[in-house]
């Protein structure tokens, strides 16, 4: 008798499980069809960094080439932060700022350590490329490109 009861109980549990899946079958999908629509990405999302423009002088970024980020980066992704002092300005202006995104771990150490808040995370959440070198961003050039589009 117990065997039969077990079988019936087992079969019932299977049917309950099937009920769950069939209900899911008829409930709406949760998929976000990526290239056609995108998920709401939090504004805090960390991608690679970008340089923020100086609100007073849109030609230059806020970066003063202090090298804090370069020193603080855990994996030495930030290279060649160079700048020059332009006429009539107190601080240095960055001329090159190379970020090797392929070693970055998106920890935010550079953003945190920047004394003038010149760094920000960009919104580039889906970068792809066919070369490694695609991701050695020169943030200064990126900024200039962005500036043109605005």
């Amino acid at each position: 008798m117990r065997v039969i009861a077990d079988i019936v109980k087992g079969a019932y549990s299977l049917i309950v499980g099937m009920g769950v899946t069939i209900r899911a079958f008829f409930s709406p999908v949760v998929t976000c069809q990526y290239p056609r629509e995108t998920v709401n990405i939090s504004p805090r999302f960390r991608s690679h960094t970008k340089l923020v423009g100086d609100p007073e002088n849109p030609d230059r970024t806020k970066c003063i080439v202090c090298g804090m980020c370069e020193r603080n980066c855990p994996s030495h992704s930030i290279k060649k932060v160079e700048g020059e002092k332009k006429e009539g300005e107190k601080k240095k202006t960055a001329t090159s700022y190379i970020l090797d995104f392929t070693t970055c771990s998106q920890c935010g150490m550079c953003v945190e350590s920047c004394p003038v808040d010149a760094l920000e995370f960009s919104d580039d959440y889906n970068p792809v490329g066919s070369k490694r070198e695609d991701f050695h961003y020169d943030l200064v050039k990126e900024y200039e490109k962005r500036k043109k589009t605005i």
Partner: protein, 327 residues
């Protein structure tokens, strides 16, 4: 044009022409069914898991499986170094024989049947055992431990489940008094046999799930244990033949279940062939539904279930049916 055709028909004989045409039809049905079923499976899986499934290739992703099969055809035919070549090559071909043969006797309609053999069900049962054999030699020939274990499991499983499968069909044969599938379908003009034989139907269905190696009985290709089971070493075209056979087998067992228990092509209003396909695909859907709901049983549980529950119950069922019919 017409004359030549009639001439040819007369020369070769009507039966031969019917068979040839039927075989071509079967081939088309097999391919179409497999393509359709892969698409259905993915779509059903998707919706059960609350996602969309194939969508981007063709309307509703309908061309997805087609694209996949074209891709499979284009793949390099790799032959691993250590395989036993004759067996390795033979297995995918062999698995296709029963698939084609069994289609010959399935009555899609009162008329649409390649050939009505009066030992029809025996043909199906006899040839379906070839599937095991080809899995066996495929697994043995691949020289891969996972394949071998998968093959051994498959054989044990098939031995165990062939018996309840047969035993659950016997009462129907008693009741219809024929081996011919068409006679059996015709015998259900009034009431479907599933009404008289619900237990036999359940047993048949469970056993056929096991015979087709579907979840929860998909031990021969248990992914988490055996990588891909017996077809681990197969690639490209050869793999696709295994794949095709699996989906066609699903269709076949559903078709047999429909013919034996669910009234075959009988049904109101719509033509028989439509009813047949509706019923069959409904059963296939249940198979898919199983797959995406249940975990896999363990090997010894699988065998125990067959030997300790299915076989005694089906024997009992057979006995009772015989008793009622004759006394």
């Amino acid at each position: 044009m017409c004359d030549t055709i009639i001439n040819i028909v007369n020369i070769v004989g009507k039966e031969v022409v019917r068979t040839v045409v039927g075989l071509i039809g079967v081939f088309i049905v097999v391919l179409g069914n497999a393509i359709m079923l892969t698409w259905t499976e993915r779509k059903v899986a998707g919706h059960i898991q609350r996602r969309i499934g194939p969508k981007e290739v063709g309307p509703f992703g309908l061309l997805q499986s087609f694209a996949d099969s074209v891709k499979l055809l284009g793949k390099e035919l790799l032959t691993p170094a250590n395989v036993e070549k004759p067996l390795y090559y033979l297995a995918p071909t062999l698995i296709f024989v029963p698939v084609l043969v069994t289609f010959v006797v399935i009555p899609f309609d009162g008329f649409l049947q390649v050939k009505d053999i009066n030992t029809g069900i025996l043909v199906i049962l006899a040839f379906s055992s070839l599937t095991v054999l080809s899995i066996l030699i495929g697994g043995w020939g691949s020289d891969n431990k996972y394949s071998l274990i998968g093959a051994v499991r498959s054989v044990a499983q098939n031995i165990a489940y062939e018996i309840p499968l047969l035993l659950s069909l016997l009462p129907i044969i008693f009741m219809a008094n024929s081996f011919s599938l068409r006679d059996i379908a015709e015998a259900q003009r009034g009431v479907w046999f599933v009404v008289y034989q619900p237990i036999a139907f359940l047993i048949f269905f469970v056993a056929s799930v096991a015979e087709t190696n579907r979840t929860p009985f998909d031990l021969p290709e248990a992914e988490s244990e055996l990588v891909a089971g017996f077809h681990t070493e197969y690639s490209g075209m050869r793999f696709s033949l295994f794949f095709l056979a699996e989906y066609t087998n699903m269709f076949i067992v559903s078709a047999i279940a429909v013919t034996f228990f669910l009234g075959g092509y009988q049904g109101p209003v719509l033509p028989g062939v439509v009813w047949f396909f509706i019923k069959t695909y409904a059963l296939v859907f249940v198979l898919l539904w199983f797959r995406w709901t249940f975990p896999r049983v363990r090997f010894d549980q699988l065998l125990n279930f067959s030997w300790k529950i299915l076989i005694p119950v089906s024997f009992l069922n057979l006995l009772v049916t015989g008793g009622i019919l004759k006394i």
